[in-house]
């Protein structure tokens, strides 16, 4: 959506100055995915492809209901199917709609080196401004959820936009509109939390003691949240991270090392300059030349007597 001017940025990748943020009087939004109500129909996947004009290549059957096999540059959301045998020995089919979580503290944005290629709007949506993307893959390293995918065709990174184009004109994301069971909901983050609380209460009353909301505080919360029947073990749901966080390796790299290194290099150059103007250049003197010549001359002269 880079062709529409946004003046509601709260974060902008690789920027040292405050981004344009005057139109930031917005509610934070959230998509709430109630996993317990999902029937795995993939309407959300189809709606995503339809609205965003995405057509991934038709793949092969990989022995799983997942299709395609993985997220991709043109697969922004994917139903993931996990079979879980619970304590009672019953099989549970845990289906999760995977895609960008729209972190409040986005690792992709933190890692991105291209100014303005990744932005976060005041409503919380994290968007890739693909025009500015250089295709380095740093966002892939920054993401705690393994979401961005780099296209082999145009070398740009892609992921779910939370239908920022629809949301900006007051519509709900395409997947939300398509969901036939109401498992995907959209609204202000506060409302979604209330909605989730009701659902969790209901699930608990039906025996899911560990039901809860997935809104991981390690990344400042997310703007895509899950209601999970097993909120104590998110990893049951096709590897949803139990404690997602921006890798400390990325934190060090994009945190203190970045300014320290540039300062260090600048200091070295400045130090060299001041050495030049204090100690000064090291010049060869006339005497040095005379001595040097003498060494060579004596070597010539001594040749006969030094020969054994």
């Amino acid at each position: 959506m880079s062709d529409l001017q946004s003046q509601d940025y709260v974060r902008r990748s690789a920027s040292t100055l405050t981004p344009p943020s005057v139109r930031s009087h917005e509610d934070e939004v959230a998509k709430l995915i109630d996993v317990s109500r999902c029937i795995g129909c993939k309407a959300c996947q189809s709606a995503c492809m339809e609205w965003n004009d995405l057509r991934p290549e038709v793949g092969h059957f990989e022995g799983s209901y997942e299709n395609p096999a993985d997220l991709g540059p043109s697969v922004w959301t994917l139903m993931k199917f996990a079979e879980h045998e619970n304590e009672q020995g019953n099989l549970e089919w845990l289906i999760r709609k995977d895609g960008c979580m729209h972190c409040e503290d986005p690792g992709c944005l933190k890692a991105c080196p291209a100014p303005g290629a990744i932005v976060q709007y005041a409503n919380g949506i994290v968007d890739f401004i693909s025009d500015k993307c250089i295709g380095c893959g740093y966002c892939v390293k920054g993401c705690p959820f393994n979401i961005p995918r780099i296209s082999k065709q145009d070398h740009k990174s892609y992921k779910c936009t939370l239908c920022s184009d629809r949301v900006s004109v007051g519509l709900e994301p395409a997947c939300v509109k398509a969901c036939p069971t109401g498992a995907i909901m959209f609204g202000s983050k506060t409302d979604m939390k209330h909605q989730a609380a009701e659902r969790i209460e209901d699930l608990k009353s039906r025996g899911f003691d560990q039901a809860g909301l997935y809104d991981p505080p390690e990344v400042g919360g997310t703007h895509v949240m899950y209601v999970l029947h097993h909120a104590d073990k998110p990893s049951l749901y096709s590897g949803l991270p139990d404690k997602p966080r921006i890798s400390p390796v990325v934190g060090a790299w994009k945190g203190f090392i970045k300014p320290l290194a540039v300062a260090g290099i600048a200091l070295a150059a400045v130090g060299a300059f001041f050495h030049w103007i204090t100690a000064g250049p090291n010049e060869v003197t006339e005497e040095d030349e005379a001595e040097g010549e003498r060494v060579l001359r004596e070597a010539d002269a001594h040749e006969p007597e030094k020969s054994p």
Binding site: I257, K258, A272, D288, E291, R297, D300, H302, K306
Partner: protein, 219 residues
Amino acid sequence: MTRPNNAITRYTAANRVNHWITALCFVLLTLSGLAMFHPMLFFLSGLFGGGQWMRAAHPWIGIVLMASYLGLIIQFWRENLVNRDDVAWMKSIRYVAVNDEEHVPPVGRNNAGQKMVFWSMTLLVPALFFSGLLIWEVYFGAATSIPVQRVAVLVHSLAAIAAILVWVVHVYAAIWIRHSVRAMTQGYVTPGWAWRHHRKWLWELASEQHDKAPPRKHP
């Protein structure tokens, strides 16, 4: 190329060509690498035709640098072997810093500082090359896991910073010790330069010279 009669060859044409290919690659890699490292330096991407071109070109320049630096290792490793003189030279570093060469013990063809530059780069260039391969998204993006790539990108950054610092020292030393640059551009130094900065090397040259026949003629 016009040289004074008493010129001493310090770097052959092969040495110099090899050095300057390496130097050009290193500068280009530093500019593009810093542009991708710190947002304030992203403007440097303009030198490469924009961010996408820079991202695409950087690894290829890295390959040329690696190949070129291998050439430098082959040509220079022997004269950079560390010996006892290097310890003595390092101990007198405070005299070196203030151009008080009379208090600096004589050294051979390279002093300990030059050797440190050589061996640091010999360590850092391959470290940069291999960590760089792991984060070369276009060809090796899927070759290793994301946690491995995270470590690789950190190693790459740290090695690059170290290499740039070594490079600053290297470039400044070349400017500071007058006529060192000429040794690497035109290939020669004067006997006085050799006497002042690499006295043992001069003695070696002198003794080699008188072993050879016919003896060197001076005007």
